[in-house]
């Protein structure tokens, strides 16, 4: 109905690479990842080989050197469309949220040390406790982090954790290796959705970080990370909504009830039209936000507005899709059931960071 204009020729070429990757490296393993606690290590290696993980990183550090978040958007959206919500989320967190923050705010030494494992496919970089931060105690030029972060996506396998902490009212950001001593990771076995993300509760038991582990201007970095989390959550949600809406439109075009196609009922048409309207609005604000992020003009308020709008579109699409699928919607082997659980997972992840309404209110001067 609405023709997106955000992607250009280069992105279309990149899309082909991504799709091949998804067909060959993701689709065959997705069920197993969902059952078994998340994407396996091989996935990151194969993604790295295709150059998918560091498109925005400097070329001299092994990245693609392309300062354009639309390649990441393409990667994330296509992965969502393939149904791998958890993986799409990890890619968004690593390529969309963490790497750009490191590239912008880390020193050259830090960046050199941190980027390599991520770009080379040891695992994703994920943000931890960037909403309410961990408690930290300053101790002789170092900080000691304690506390726990529930249900961290990729918590079990991340190569790099970008950790928010707070010490005496001042916020900071530490970047630590996923295998750092003092970390206890406990896999979330019974996650309803986003299972391919491989969530884990991470306990910080007096983890020591030194100045070299910490980014300068912690408050600024955290604000930037939260804004980008809102942005990328919105990208995921809009792509998820589109996937569900598309498959539901197909379903109602083939399923018969009372001797008629489900698509012929006014109730079906109006409910899906309402969902389509929400999605159109969401896609526009998401695309505009991605463009603004590229131009360096994205405000926290707009990113939060995009997150709210896209989440609403996603929730509506999933709810209406589920309802129109009737009994099939409730069977876990059906994609719509997985999509429902995955949407819940994304909402939950969002809520752990912030109430987007607070951010929007600040954006309109309240």
């Amino acid at each position: 109905m609405y023709a997106r204009s955000i992607f250009e020729e280069d992105h279309a070429v990149f899309r082909e690479t991504v799709r091949r990757f998804l067909t060959e490296e993701v689709a065959p393993h997705l069920d197993q990842w969902r059952r078994g606690g998340g994407v396996g290590p091989r996935l990151w290696v194969s993604a790295a080989e295709l150059g998918l993980l560091g498109t925005m990183a400097p070329e001299e550090l092994g990245g693609g050197g392309v300062d354009d978040p639309r390649f990441v958007a393409m990667l994330v959206e296509e992965t969502m469309t393939a149904g791998a919500t958890g993986l799409a989320h990890l890619l968004a967190l690593s390529c969309g949220v963490c790497l750009p923050a490191l590239i912008e705010y880390a020193s050259v030494e830090q960046l050199t040390a941190w980027l390599e494992p991520v770009i080379e496919g040891r695992g994703p970089a994920v943000p931890v406790a960037v909403g309410p931060p961990l408690e930290a105690h300053a101790d002789d030029g170092e900080w000691r982090l304690s506390g726990w972060a529930p249900a961290v996506p990729g918590g079990a396998s991340a190569a790099l954790l970008v950790v928010g902490f707070s010490t005496e009212g001042e916020d900071g950001v530490a970047v630590i290796d996923g295998d750092r001593l003092g970390l206890q990771r406990r896999s979330v076995a019974d996650a309803l959705g986003g299972r391919d993300a491989g969530q884990a509760d991470i306990h910080f038991d007096d983890v020591r970080v030194g100045p070299g582990d910490v980014l300068a201007n912690g408050e600024t970095v955290l604000r930037s990370i939260r804004r980008d989390l809102d942005l990328w959550t919105a990208v995921l949600a809009a792509a998820g909504a589109l996937g569900v809406l598309t498959s539901t439109v197909e379903y109602v075009g083939s399923r018969r009830v009372f001797g008629r196609l489900l698509a012929e009922f006014e109730n079906t048409r109006h409910r899906l039209a309402e969902a389509a309207v929400l999605l159109t609005a969401a896609q526009l604000i998401v695309d505009d936000s991605v463009r603004a992020r590229w131009a360096g003009t994205l405000s926290a308020g707009q990113a939060a507005a995009a997150r709210i709008t896209a989440a609403q579109a996603h929730d509506e699409a999933v709810d209406r899709g589920l309802q129109l699928h009737g009994g099939y919607g409730y069977m876990r082997e059906y994609p719509i059931s997985v999509a429902f659980a995955d949407a819940q997972y994304l909402r939950q992840q969002e809520r752990q960071v912030s109430d987007a309404r607070d951010v929007v209110a600040a954006g309109i001067g309240l």
């Binding site: 009830v257 009372f258 309802q323 009737g326 009994g327 069977m331 876990r332 429902f340 809520r351």
Partner: protein, 386 residues
């Protein structure tokens, strides 16, 4: 009008609450995780306490009480552990009631006492791959052959399939299309020719069991025909009772989600104050209260007016559509107010939300209910086929 429970109702409710909290609440999470079937021994225990089949006549071992009393008990069990409420639902508001209301004295004598004693569970089997919302499209055939009935066809989404001992199967006698050609037959689980598909992995209602059912020349005695061909109205009367059972499950889940959320937001602190001190939290909690209370009143009205019979279609559909959408809203708000823990399995809110979703799909979706409501309110039939 009187809006208070009688002393007797309060006593039954208190007993139900105690049993449910003491015995079943602690098992809810484990049973959900393992998709455990409700143990038959537990069903007997509930029967022995006189809480299983309150609405069945006393002469058959039931409580001889009005529908509302059974729903009060069902609510308490479902709050603690929905799986434990299931046999109460089936015995008091489900297929057993169809036999109670429409069966012959001989049928009641044969089929109801084992249910009331907790020895046997009857499930209802209506939907088919091509007949979900359009229940009158049922194509499972029943052919009378001497003093037997021969059944052929397939059923889908039968709650309890594979687990229940008997099935009240909605069938089509002969070739008459629509509701007028339909009836219902009781079939034992182990009847030759009846087989079950693999257990479905549903999002919720775990432990209840759900599977396809295949009927391949299944022969049952003719005296197992509970509703003869042409008993259209009876079949749909049964729906009305079941809708209040469904609605009560929603009410219970929502009330429990509300109470646990109320406790959580008072215990939990954020940014140096109790979570409940945030105005939006108060606002959301109040929305939950209002929503739960409205559903409760609509369900209770429908049930009380039904007395020991069946509720009016309008009352039941109004209650169901409200309760179905209410419980989705309320559990969603509960998840929101639980912040980072809303989807942690240990808080059980996510289980409540998953179960909630299922109730709006079972027993006629809200969209279907609304068509019925408009139809009943206006006294006018709408043809879905044109």
């Amino acid at each position: 009008m009187i809006f208070e429970l009688t002393d007797e109702q309060q006593e039954i409710r208190a007993l139900a609450r105690k049993v449910a909290r003491d015995w079943y609440a602690p098992k809810a999470r484990e049973w959900d995780a393992n998709r455990t079937n409700f143990p038959a021994a537990e069903r007997k225990r509930i029967a022995e306490l006189g809480l299983l089949a309150l609405t069945l006549p006393e002469e058959y071992g039931g409580g001889g009480r009005p529908l509302i009393d059974a729903l009060l008990v069902q609510e308490e069990f479902a709050r603690a552990n929905p799986l434990a409420a299931w046999p109460i639902f089936e015995a008091s508001a489900g297929p057993s009631r169809v036999i109670d209301l429409f069966g012959t004295p001989e049928q009641k004598q044969r089929f109801l006492p084992p249910v009331a004693a907790g020895e046997r569970l009857i499930a209802i089997s209506i939907s088919e791959p091509e007949a979900g919302s359009a229940a009158t499209d049922v194509s499972t055939q029943a052919r009378v052959d001497g003093d037997e009935v021969v059944i052929n066809g397939a059923k889908r989404w039968c709650s309890g399939a594979g687990h229940a001992d008997q099935y009240l199967v909605y069938v089509r006698f002969g070739q008459t299309p629509g509701g007028r050609g339909m009836g219902a037959v009781l079939v034992d689980k182990d009847t030759p020719g009846l087989s079950f598909g693999p257990q479905e992995e549903l999002m919720g209602h775990r432990g209840v069991g759900s599977a396809d059912m295949f009927f391949d020349d299944v022969r049952v005695p003719a005296e197992n025909v509970i509703i003869q061909e042409g008993g259209f109205g009876k079949l749909f009367t049964a729906f009305s009772i079941e809708r209040l059972g469904n609605s009560t499950m929603c009410l219970a889940i929502a009330q429990e989600a509300l109470d646990r959320t109320a406790a959580y937001v008072q215990e939990r602190r954020q940014f140096g104050k109790a979570v409940v001190d945030f105005q939006t939290v108060q606002d959301t909690l109040a929305k939950m209260v209002v929503d739960v209370e409205a559903a409760r009143m609509l369900i209770w009205r429908a049930a009380v007016r039904a007395g020991r019979g069946a509720p009016k279609t309008l009352d039941a559909s109004v209650a169901k559509v409200y309760a179905n959408e209410m419980v989705k809203r309320v559990t969603d708000m509960a998840i929101q107010l639980h912040g980072g823990y809303g989807y942690a399995a240990e808080y059980e809110i996510e289980r409540m939300h998953r179960d909630a979703i299922g109730w709006a799909i079972a027993g006629g979706t809200p969209a279907i209910q609304r068509t019925r409501i408009a139809s009943e309110f206006l006294g006018r039939r709408f043809d879905q086929r044109s």
